[in-house]
Symmetry: D2
Subunit: 484 residues, 4 copies
């Protein structure tokens, strides 16, 4: 791929063509992902991150101190709390515009986390990682590339660590070291937008023991690096995109993407290695990355905006928009949605400077944000389905609606308010289905549970951060307890 | 169709063949629904109601006082509270066995409601409905038919009643009366199992004003009555049943079914008419039917059992079954699931005799049961997804798993506990997907909201039944308030 | 105390006089509990169990097969599921009439549990406990006494069992055995209605190991047994009962009672010993007792009825009874309250015969009922406070209302609806305060958490009863998983 | 009162002496509130706002642009988002230090709201309110006074506005106008800290119609203005403060205060009038004030810190601090508590400049914060009670614990972990009781519902702010709906 700067979404889409990636989907090797109707909506969603930078540069670009130019905010290392907060605003906006996962946050969060961690590794070990990383970021900024952050290992038996698995490859690890670099093997699961990326940054998935040095590897590879295979994850209702219509798919333009990446002795050259066996920094990296990334789930408030709007629109179409219980449900949805937003934003506003000078969001509140995301979208979705009514799941297909035989019958009998075309009602119902059961429910619901760590991971982190000793002292003081 | 008694599930399936129903699905007229791979799982689910009667006759049959023989409990009019309770036990069991909606409750609830309502109409108006209904039930019992209860009109603009719609056909109504019977026009939406039924019982959808006599019609038609068209509702992931495999579909055997029925001047002969213009009884019918039917949602506790089992199994496969937070989530799921069961059963146990001698479940508790069903399956589903992990929505297709190219990679990298075959893990994840996002999520989630009335309908009914005056008196007495 | 049969509530109150109990309250020995204004409301609540038996004998009495007469239902051993269910109906009614804990359930549940457990001990060990117990129950039925069930030990360090405590007395245990009986030492905490009882039945608090035989003691003592001391528990706002008015106290008539009982070598004669060292039966006793007793929390639905009524009445007084959000909150309160009721009743209806012939409620549902009780009253209380408005906690005292200086000002300015006397409003607010913050909040909220076992105890029991293996099999079958 | 600058908490307490306020409490005129044991804890809590300014001046003071000196932050008009955010940090800290309501926020929020509103009134009407207000604020800053904001009218029949009441005095209104000023009559309910204030700012309670000009009055009065009477609100367990001990009261040092203020033709001179009949600005004032004030409920996260600490401490004392369900409950409490904090802080960080130059917090998020406060403290409180155990409400009195007769028994039998003195356990339980049922439950629970507007008030405001039209457009765009 050429490193000519990508500017527009259209440029971006062109940049993905002809790369010869080994992508499997539904049992077949995909000839050109860009033209595959099941894949394309995920590319469109990512393309929106480029177009937004053109449409709202204040929001979606930032001045890079590295190259002295404005760059896409997804490639920028935040140097103030305000810049961290601006990430959140941009994420909500993109959620509103796509109604799904736009896939570019992982790379942003990886760069932001690695920037400070490499600084601190170097400080301790005298390694050259920070400078290498900065050079790599500069190169990515100039080309305006998409970076996939590859962290989640497949993990095998969850009761055992990397070293305890029957198969050592169940966590990505270094299989061979040469003077030029390292070879890695293993697989990364649930890789958001990986096929739509230009580069991958591989990172360890959890804290590592001293004996797990081969697993403590961080480095960058181009997506088409030799020995790399992608197997596309299937999503609820994914094949509706292959049916040809625009109605049943709900959100015809946009979707998320997650795939399994398999590395079979893929090579990372020395200048793209950013950690190599410094096991004691694995936990710091994971924690800083998840801190940024859990706060990134503020994007779901933008997706929630769409679902609230859809629920309000369908209430209009049904003629019940003034019923008090309808209004009340819209208020509840909004209350929950804004709580997600506010907890994420508070984490960003309370960012603190790291030793490297970059800013890191508040970890406790980042976990609180994400933990709310594991709950509230499900309730918002339930309320949206409540307002949608049962037709959402009993409605005939677009083909029936277009058919000469049944089309007129459906047009007549599925009409709600007399002045609203039946098709508008059907479209809105399919959008709600898409977001609560269908393709984008994957991102809005299930991924809201597990992305950036499952609920229990947040609870563990909240436990670590909650400073119980100080709170006990507050209570003892007020209770009049003096300890000896 | 012959009226030879249907005994087994297999008999039942045969009985559905060759009926020449006008069924449209995905834009095409279906040649033989029984052989359509998308439809067949719904037939299998209904067939299970026959097989259970053979396997557990105590549970799934009852002695009919009308014909003096044991009949399928779905065709029986309950003559004691214990018999009403046994309905609930049978429903939970069928939920456990099919993991979906087995579609035969509507007819049972319709018969049980109509039995007492026709008695009371006759008492007031001297009409012959009760005897007609009894004769019809006897005939159905002898043949062991499936009855579809057709109540929910398409309703058009929800801010207006039948008389206020721009199009009078948006509620089913009598278009013509002859000495032999009546002709009806209109459509019934979300008709559970209608294509899998032998007969339909049409009923009004809500209370009617005196001027809406043409809408107050109750009567029976064979499913293949002239002027009847069915358009199949599409469900999340429905076309996976057309893909040929058994894995991605999650629950290959069973599904629910809902379709739109359109009546274009379909005829009901006099002897099958059970209400005809007695508008003041429409509300009583709707209330008694929904009372039975809301309590019927106890079946979801059986579906919940499957989902709890699936969540427990996947935890085993992942090696985390002993983690305290995993156990705790299984307990929470069970607590909620048993609360559904208990509220439904309490309603049944507290049934009271009607004037006709049949028993009617407790309406307040029936509404409480259903209202819990509008909430808890969503939380149970969320917890199931929590235990499943993200792979549930990022897992490649069965075709990739069967492929020579990618199969071995997937087998290697998607293995969890070393002693559990990867395919078992994948199957269990697809089952959870099926129940929380896919085809059977339609029945377990969305239909749990709207079936037998949307949440607000239960709240209105609870308000009517909650006897606030008596409660205020209790409070005033204890507060020492004496009113003049 | 004489064993002349107690009939009315008034008889009962007389029966408590002059017993010379050693009761301490607020630092002083109480001369006559019956006349103590802080204690009396708890006696009144218990007295209501006698009066109800006179007013609604069908509800509150049962035919004893032991003495062949109708006896108070609280002294009856249930011999059918219907009789177990009738306990629940009676309990709800008494909750409605008193708005608090009427304290007589523990004895009922103890008799019902011991009846079957002693039978099974005897069956194994050839002991005479069952006959002894029956004789004791007959005596209690003839005299119509109140039985306090003394189970909960003070427990010391919760990380250790009886044998592990620094002080062996932290669990009640036998200190000496003679040919006539046993001497016990220790303390029982949170003893509901103990001072208002005639007899106590002491029981172990948890499962016991073989080395803890001295702790596996069950027997009966009169409340005034030598070596028995009572220290009265203080309750929120308890001293308002000492202030002389009737308004600020909220519910002037009724309250609960819990005290600490200390046994210092109290004697139990052989004929009143019902378990003595059969440690392997301690768990069975605790489980059966808590099964009955957790289901007994159905009483809180009666208390909930009062609180719902109070909330509805205050809405009337404020002139907002027709606001949709007000109605909706009353519906929500009712929905939750009836869910408590229904889960308790379902447990009762599903009672099964024990070997002894008595009936035992369904344990899983009993735990589900109680677990709902640990949650819903808090939400019902929150909603009641929502409807009450802030004045509930900022309202001046009754003394200010009666004062010449401030009374007219308060009468003028605290008036809500013009046609409702200000005092009625104040009384209703104080009742809600009483039930959500004050004296009866102890029973409605905190005791709802901990009575009959804290929330985690129910979760453990639900885990034991939830039959996960069977559920996993259901899921595997539907997922198409065949295990080797 | 002299206008010598108050510096320390001790100065403040002295400043309250000898003012001759007409305060009634428990039916009697209070001689000196400062020395009244029931009132004093509320004064202590307010005094803490002075001491904190000495201890942590960065946190609790700000540089006044009006007088060019650092002033107590409670008297400061915020001139940047950061300053608004600092209010929230200070409020949480004071919640942690007092465990209750420290009463000084209303004045702060009133000044901040009035500053911009008077500016805008003047802009439209050419009135001199802004300059007057500034002069008044300067005077208050120099003296470091406490300002009570008097907004909530008693309101009478809630179905009617001021003009519709049977008694016109049920909303405070101008009864007479002279060339020097106005006379007002009426009452303000639930007046937080009013008796502990030096000055009151009277404000209208809701939007006003043009015919309600006499009700649209804003002005300042000294607390001892002629014609002003205070009647103290009673709180749950308030009289425990009169009993003499330090244990049963739970939090011996601190409490909140709310009283009824009655104005009987109290006078406000022209130079202290800040609105006088400009009815169209009443809504703006109420909205801006409640916006600040709802966000001020972030203080409850500080109170929550105390309760979490108390729950953690009691778990330690009981020896169960390592049980997974205990940890999990502490995590849940923290998660909810931090959600309150984060929503409040996000509202502050997103403050915008008003025309006057002062900053106003984000209204939507302020309402979201407060709405969370109407829910989460109840759940946090429930969980704290869960960890406390039943002894919290069955524990004998301090007098029993101090008594020679019963003290040793209680010391022995109420001991939990052997190395923790029994008294420490009792103290911690009383603190939890204090915060969930007792005196400070008033502020932590009930006031969390109603302070700054009851839950429905937030829902109405969220509805107004949620921008449904824009959200509908987002949904329509993604659903592919084009409107004509």
């Amino acid at each position: 791929m050429s490193e000519k700067r990508i500017v527009s979404g259209e440029d971006y889409i062109q940049s993905l063509r002809g790369r010869g990636l080994k992508v499997y989907l539904l049992g077949e090797l995909v000839v050109e992902p860009v033209d595959h109707p099941l894949i394309r909506p995920s590319i469109n969603a990512l393309a929106k991150t480029y177009d937004l930078a053109l449409e709202q540069p204040e929001l979606a670009t930032a001045l890079s101190p590295f190259i002295g130019e404005r760059v896409n905010r997804f490639l920028h290392v935040a140097m103030s709390a305000q810049e961290v907060a601006m990430q959140g605003e941009m994420q909500r906006r993109l959620g509103q515009l796509t109604g799904t996962c736009f896939q570019r946050c992982v790379g942003m969060d990886a760069f932001n986390a690695l920037y400070s961690v490499t600084y601190e590794i170097d400080e301790k070990h005298g390694t050259p990682y920070h400078a290498r990383l900065k050079a790599f970021i500069e190169r990515m900024q100039r080309a305006n590339y998409v970076i996939g952050g590859a962290m989640t290992d497949v993990k095998g038996d969850r009761s055992k660590g990397p070293a305890g698995q029957a198969d050592p490859d169940l966590f990505v690890h270094v299989t061979r070291r040469t003077s030029d670099g390292v070879y890695i093997r293993g697989a990364k699961a649930h890789q958001t937008g990986c096929i739509n990326s230009h580069w991958l940054v591989v990172m360890p998935t959890q804290r590592m023991g001293a004996e797990e040095a081969d697993y403590a590897i961080v480095g960058a590879l181009p997506v088409d690096a030799q020995g790399t295979t992608y197997i596309y994850g299937r999503q609820s209702c994914d094949t509706r995109s292959l049916e040809g219509g625009t109605l049943d798919v709900g959100n015809a333009q946009y979707s998320g993407q997650e795939a399994l990446i398999i590395f079979e002795d893929a090579f990372i050259p020395n200048e793209l290695i950013f950690m190599n066996g410094e096991t004691e920094f694995a936990a710091m990296l994971v924690e800083r990355f998840t801190s940024f990334h859990r706060r990134s789930y503020v994007c779901k408030s933008g997706v929630g905006d769409v679902l609230i709007g859809a629920a309000a629109a369908i209430a209009d179409y049904h003629g019940v928009e003034k019923a008090s219980h309808i209004r009340d449900k819209l208020v509840e949805m909004t209350h929950l949605n804004e709580t997600i937003y506010a907890t994420g934003m508070a984490s960003s506003y309370q960012s603190q400077a790291t030793k490297s000078g970059s800013y890191l969001c508040n970890d406790l509140l980042a976990n609180v944000c994400k933990h709310n995301v594991t709950r509230f979208p499900f309730e918002i979705g339930r309320l949206a389905q409540d307002l949608a009514g049962g037709l959402m799941v009993t409605m005939p297909s677009e083909a029936d609606f277009r058919s000469e035989d049944t089309g007129p019958l459906l047009d007549k009998y599925l009409k709600a308010r007399a002045d609203v075309p039946t098709e508008q009602r059907l479209r809105m119902l399919r959008l709600i289905e898409n977001m609560t059961l269908g393709r984008n429910a994957v991102g809005y619901l299930t991924e809201s549970l597990h992305g950036a760590g499952s609920p229990q991971a947040q609870r563990i982190q909240i436990y670590r951060q909650m400073n119980l000793e100080a709170k006990k002292q507050l209570a003892k003081r007020l209770a009049g307890i003096e300890e000896g």
